[in-house]
Symmetry: C2
Subunit: 795 residues, 2 copies
């Protein structure tokens, strides 16, 4: 395998000159955006007032991004390719904007930024300017599906976009800073999950400019030999483009891209001809070594700038106040020779404009990068076909996620032809009881498959890898390009992707404000193997705090559901899969649990989001109860019902109302969340003055935070997970956190005015039960029979 591709005559002299001019135009526009308020074409000498008062933007990575963009344009035109561009170094926002402006996309979307001198002035001014556009590639940037914020997710987004898009090539630029992150280091292994017969291609371009903010980078300083071995080890064929002299670099890049797209075509043809389905092809990737701040000032104030980290942001900083600096900027910009690039009217010269692809082939206009344009509704079956017949209430035991698995299996089947639905998870689909989907599909796997392997195939639609980062990133890429999916995960470990969730929620918030960005499917989490049933894995696996993070995001973006049983999970799962532009979090157990609601009841209850369970209440109609027992989450619901049962048997005259919450954000005030209950409705459920014992699935503080504006808030007493846990029995987990039936019943007695004295015997009995439990589990290693075998009493 050779290191550098032979560059003989990849481009004619004329072609080379044209592509170099195009590149210079992009570089010119990039610098202009960072610096200029006015005088965009340098028709007059640069003056202080032409310079922005605050210089915000990143030059360092930009010329390399522009170089790649120009060369991809050539290939797209030459081969009529369908390509999108993922800009890992998101700081290179000026480059992305410059290129989409040059190709015309920008002005089509934002007519105000027209293709003339005045448009160019506005283009420059708006960049990183109040009321303008962000400094990074962002939702506002045409052609982007990748926010240039947090680093690490470019490549995994690229793979997500390529799955089930056989004609698409996703060019993915990975900066050498980003390449140091964990998620990116794992993302290279995504090639083991991409099937050339049905998926598109990903072309990773590792863009090494050698430096991050103030340091060299690991891969930038590594030798070619180590890099070659590293990427061969990851399963790629690395091709190197190295240098700084533009003409030589153009020839190298053109030849390398020709070779790369040849190779991609070969791999795809071979796979699609049915000639070979064996193993994981060795896809090409490019290592592009070019100077940081390429073509920018070599030195400023006697300090090295080009090809060093000082070129990272604004290479010459005081152009408004310092004439010498301003001169450096002017020389730099004039060095691109704007008269050679733009006509008298400020438009890009026609021979250069002709280098950009046309219509949807332009990377800024490719509909894959505005996935809502391509999104087809997911076909879903009728949830009633999967309903659990609950018989006598609480007597039937079912595994909620298993029931949902049947629904997902048929959803998978209904959309098999459309090939636009996948399920993602870190090796836990079966463990999370969604195994029914394997009746109709497999796990995708491109490495060797052994005869004894189970449900592994090249064509599987279940994506399993022991990396929550990859699951999340693939799914994001898949959704952003207009498809559908579900991510099932152990509840505790979803925190691994907290920051990715953050970034995606931010993306959605901004896209909802952009009319031209069309809605995409919601990002759906099924969090299972949850805190209360991690009794076997212990404390490290017990954390219900992801929803706290979610609740911080903009209300229109997020929903949190805690279905108490299988039929309600069916409603919630189905509902979430049909929504768009949201993040839906569903928390539901996978263990056998009693079933409470018929399908009709579940539909009604879930649609309301919150409601009184009259069958579990003994208050008389329209009379205020003595006590409200509220719950959210499957285990808390069971413990609450068991507590209600205990209380009713011990103190029959106590009037108890039982309330269940499915849609957690319904607890919030209506002015805080669109699903929030109106105050009257809330008071009608929780009363205005009675004690509420609230058994909640997660950290109790969230309930206080959601309800602090409610009239009865000071009577709401919440129990939840308080960071007590270990390897023990399921019931002992609730006891350790004082969320169990006995603690709930005891608190109920203590909170109802005057009851404590009257119900002394019951109090003593419940306390006795806690002591009995303590001894029993430590002796027998399992829960007391009366706990294990408890069922809701017949009416």
């Amino acid at each position: 395998m050779e290191k550098h591709v032979s560059t003989a005559a990849a481009l004619t002299d004329a072609e080379l000159t044209l592509i170099d001019r195009y590149w210079r135009a992009a570089n010119y526009l990039s610098v202009g955006q960072i610096y200029l308020l006015a005088n965009p074409l340098l028709r007059e000498p640069l003056k202080s007032e032409h310079i922005k008062p605050r210089l915000l933007g990143h030059w360092g990575t930009t010329p390399g991004l522009n170089f790649i963009y120009a060369h991809l344009n050539r290939l797209i035109r030459a081969r009529d390719l369908d390509v999108i561009y993922i800009c890992g170094p998101g700081h290179g926002g000026p480059g992305m904007v410059a290129n989409t402006y040059l190709e015309g996309t920008y002005s089509e979307i934002y007519p105000d930024i027209s293709e003339d001198a005045e448009g160019m002035r506005r283009l420059f001014r708006q960049f990183s300017f109040p009321g303008g556009i962000p400094s990074h590639a962002a939702p506002e940037t045409p052609g982007s599906i990748h926010e240039g914020g947090e680093l690490g997710y470019a490549l995994v987004h690229a793979y997500g976009a390529a799955f089930d898009n056989p004609d698409l090539t996703v060019a993915c630029i990975v900066g050498d800073g980003e390449a140091e992150t964990g998620p990116l280091a794992a993302s290279w292994h995504s090639n083991k999950f991409l099937n050339p017969a049905r998926d598109g291609a990903v072309l990773p371009i590792l863009h090494l400019n050698g430096y991050k903010i103030a340091n060299p980078t690991i891969l930038g300083r590594a030798g070619d030999d180590d890099l070659r071995r590293l990427f061969e080890g990851y399963g790629y064929e690395p091709l190197f483009v190295t240098g700084h002299e533009p003409r030589d670099m153009h020839q190298q890049m053109a030849a390398t891209l020709d070779r790369v797209f040849e190779r991609i075509r070969e791999i795809q043809e071979q796979a699609r001809s049915g000639k070979s389905t064996a193993g994981c092809p060795r896809w090409p990737m490019i290592v592009l070594r070019s100077p940081k701040g390429w073509t920018g000032p070599k030195e400023v104030d006697g300090k090295k700038v080009e090809d060093f980290w000082r070129a990272h942001q604004v290479p010459v900083s005081n152009c408004r106040g310092n004439e010498g600096h301003r001169k450096i900027l002017e020389d730099w910009m004039r060095g691109y020779d704007p008269e050679d690039l733009f006509g008298a009217d400020g438009r890009l010269k026609p021979e250069l404009r002709a280098l950009a692809p046309a219509g949807k082939r332009r990377m800024g206009a490719n509909p894959h990068a505005n996935g809502g344009l391509l999104r087809k509704e997911l076909a879903v079956p009728d949830i009633r076909d999967y309903a659990v017949d609950i018989g006598k209430r609480g007597s039937v035991v079912a595994q909620s996620t298993e029931i949902l698995g049947h629904y997902l299996r048929d959803t998978m089947k209904l959309n098999a032809k459309a090939a636009n639905f996948r399920i993602f998870g870190p090796d836990e689909t079966e463990s999370n009881r969604l195994g029914s989907v394997f009746d109709v599909t497999d796990r995708v796997w491109m490495e060797d498959i052994e005869p004894y392997d189970v449900h592994l195939s090249r064509d599987g639609r279940v994506m399993e890898v022991l990396s929550e980062h990859l699951c999340q990133g693939w799914l994001e890429g898949y959704l952003l390009t207009g498809r559908h999916g579900l991510f099932s995960c152990y509840e505790a470990f979803i925190h691994i992707i907290d920051s990715m969730f953050n970034q995606h929620a931010k993306w959605l918030k901004v896209t909802r404000e952009l009319e031209w960005r069309k809605p995409i499917s919601s990002l759906n989490y099924l969090l299972t193997s949850h805190v209360w049933r991690q009794d076997h894995n212990g404390f490290s696996h017990q954390d219900p705090g992801f929803v706290d993070l979610v609740a911080n995001k903009k209300a229109d973006i997020v929903r949190i559901y805690l279905p108490p049983d299988a039929n309600s999970l069916l409603w919630v799962g189905d509902h979430c899969l049909r929504t768009y532009d949201r993040v839906n979090v569903i928390v539901a157990g996978k263990q056998p649990e009693p079933q409470w609601l018929s399908m009709d009841e579940a539909v009604k209850h879930c649609e309301a989001g919150i409601g009184i369970w009259h069958w579990a209440s003994n208050e008389e109609d329209t009379i205020s109860p003595d006590l409200v027992m509220a719950c959210a989450g499957d285990v808390p619901t069971m413990e609450t019902l068991a507590a209600v049962d205990l209380l009713r048997k011990a103190i029959p005259e106590l009037k108890i109302r039982t309330v269940n919450v499915v849609d957690l954000l319904a607890l919030q005030s209506r002015d805080q969340h669109p699903h929030g209950l109106a105050d009257e409705a809330f008071d009608a459920i929780f009363t205005a003055d009675k004690p509420v014992i609230f058994a909640y699935h997660g950290y109790p503080y969230l309930i206080h935070r959601l309800t602090y504006k409610r009239a009865n808030h000071e009577n709401i007493h919440v129990r939840g997970f308080v960071e007590e846990g270990t390897t023990t029995t399921p019931f002992d987990m609730t006891v350790l956190n004082e969320l169990d039936r006995y603690h709930l019943a005891i608190e109920a007695i203590e909170r109802v005015p005057g009851l404590k004295e009257k119900a002394k015997d019951a109090l003593a009995a419940f306390r006795g039960k806690l002591a009995e439990h303590h001894n029993y589990v430590r002796e027998h290693g399992e829960d007391m029979p009366e706990v294990r075998n408890w069922t809701w009493p017949a009416a």
Copy 2:
């Protein structure tokens, strides 16, 4: 480079037989822990009642872990090595417990689990049993610094432990499941930061058993050739140990470990002799391919178990109820020949016990794995030496983190000889204004150093890599082995390590309950480049939610500080560095900001955690004010003071109290947090009934959550970050989120009963200012002069 090390005569026959017996003993004890309640030595046929009712544990990885442990014991004895064992596959808890029991450490720490038949019975029974020990390697496990929970951090912990421990070798077992995670994939690059002259060695052992829960693994299925290239690419010398036949495997492993420790010695001697300081040495690492569930049942119920994922947890499951299953278990355990391993009294036979190292050389007793034993107090300078002279209040401008940088520089200097303090950060030490530390140290870097590089050296004590995961993991490993450190990070991106923080906080919670675990230094975060000053990077860089996650943890573990200026940051930073067994989060800006408190005032204020700023209040002593203006965080403090200034000028008769909060958890009730103010103290500050306008740095809900129990809670009106942001000016960021001086002043007027009508003109003026601001920034690209130039008025 050869693939397999020649195995000729690494072990004599006698040695081989002994080590194999030792391994069998560990395997026997591992199986016993998973399955048995009684009959530990199989002195009678296995009966139903000998089996645990719930079988919780993981067999699959355990025999391999035991194999490695036994062989490391041999090397430790032969070469008198100082080695700790990091068990990446934390599920292998039974193996870690078995080995520390065999070497005697376990019984020394837990005398109840004695080295005899009764002790063995208790050892078995306690495992994964209520009131017993967790199923994973955990704080309870001797010799462990690594919780076996979330996967991905074994190798980064190993490197953290090795830094500045020149005589230590950290053997780090990485499972092939874990190897799929992002953080682990990046961790291999830690070799670029380890200096053989001053640091210890890390020996990574990639333990490929081929499967995770229900799937093959990426590296397990990869060919040797790809693996070799991958790890060579990462900069290692990979050595392979492959097979399943025990005798052959023992010889391979022994020979390979001999070679590995030779090579480690060579590298260290060369570096320490001063002969070579060039480049990054090619450290050896081992790829151990052994079957999953090695030596366990080959098949159960006709299905492949050994060497397949079905061996992951409990390979034969129904041993209590199914006689056939019980027979498989009994045959399996008897296959290890317990009579050959344990004497009549149940003790390990003396010739086997002699294979374990003695005293502190035992990996379970190595003090590095109980870092508090080795921890020396950090030497710190007097903060008064760095105090900012504030002159006229609010007139001096300083960058808080820069001032802290001076203190850190001298702390670094004072501990240079002890070599037990490092600073960690993702390429942001300089950007976060801590650059003074480079007066006395550099960034560590083992790849090539160019003449024009700045503050890069082999001996630097600042660790910079563009991976929050690596920074966090290195620091954790460094702290867990008894040293000190600080992690400075952009506030938004600290969410990347949310889950690592979770796991570390859980570790601390449990270790505090174990008398034999000695306190370690706190994990200190300095979050800067915070939400209000990410105006230049935009929305993706704006997130203050990490503290919400932190506040969910056990109160004794966590502290959150929001110092309003440089002197208070000095107090807080100094305080945090001197605490132990905690996680301290400090949020402080790096931009020039007005200074409010003299050092004396800062000390008093920070020690109280919360207080009235009388100099900024105009209430008369002992008289209740009309209004409380509260703030937490530097930018909110400035906006609050500016609002107070506006209000006092516009409505001189309004009696305003100004309150500042440094120690956020002081807001909580005393029964919820040890720093919580007593209710009377809280009421004395916030009043029982006056409106409180609270300007908070982060998401406003947190303040409600912390104060919901307080008498005056319903009058507390919080403003904070509400997910509105973009690239704009600093002041515009506060306006977008309605945390600016004008919004604060307007709300104050609206909330004080009867004031709205009286202060109509002021209201109109403030609203006018908001409109004026809106237009001004969009025209000029910077904030209005009256905003930029505002200063606190002279007294």
